[in-house]
Amino acid sequence: MTPTLDAYVILSAALFAIGFLGVLVRRNTLVIYMCLELMLAAATLALVAFSRFNGTEDGDVFVFFILTVAAAEVAVGLAIIVALFKARQTVQVDQLDSLKH
């Protein structure tokens, strides 16, 4: 007895929702960024499950691309956060409000 596709998709949606919750409620820029990564990983889980259950296997190749884009995104994003910390001495989103109003 194998788990159904429904179970995988619901699990990946739950992971995505947890990541989204983190993006909404956390105040630390780095933790928000980690939650974004969790959302990407949840999307890859759904892709792999769909390609396994439909027998197409194109989703598996797409996961490769998602991993590459995630790596590039993390490198650039962390560089931006470090530059921001150098300029403002904080990474709390409450205090980074220059664009507000």
């Binding site: 788990p3 956390r26 105040r27 933790v31 590459t68 590039a72």
Partner: protein
Amino acid sequence: MEQIAFACLSVFTLACALGMVLSKNAVNGAMGLLLCLAGIAGLFVQLHAYLLAFILVLVYGGAIVMLFLFIIMLLDMQGGQPWKFRKLQLVGTLVSAALLIVGLNLLAVHGQFGSGAPVGKGVGSSLDYYSYQLFTTYLLPTQVLGFLLLIAMLGVIVLSRRHPETPEAR
């Protein structure tokens, strides 16, 4: 047997994700992300995508989480409120949760998910399948991703360079 393994892995993954979101310390959050990714790699193994599980642990666990830990320790962030609920955020959370539940319900009822067994035997760890696909059907995205990585590398170099004309600290 597979059901039990799936249940254990999914509970573990969800618990680690919740731990990451709710932990006050950013280092604990990074460790939660690492464990959560390990759980997702286990789920990949259950889906017969062994190579993807290996690459997930290698790239995410080995490179990305380590980079996060480096930056957390470099910036040495302390204090500040870890989380805060505002009215707007609460409304957004409720609306998105409702949309998610409704969408999943619609998919499960009217969608073409089916309850059948997996089709085919899965890609498994066959590198030749991936390499054939990457160099035939997906040749253009592969090239574009190569350029994307190059541009990202240049961007990181430019961003982390010191600018002599701007003051370092205000």
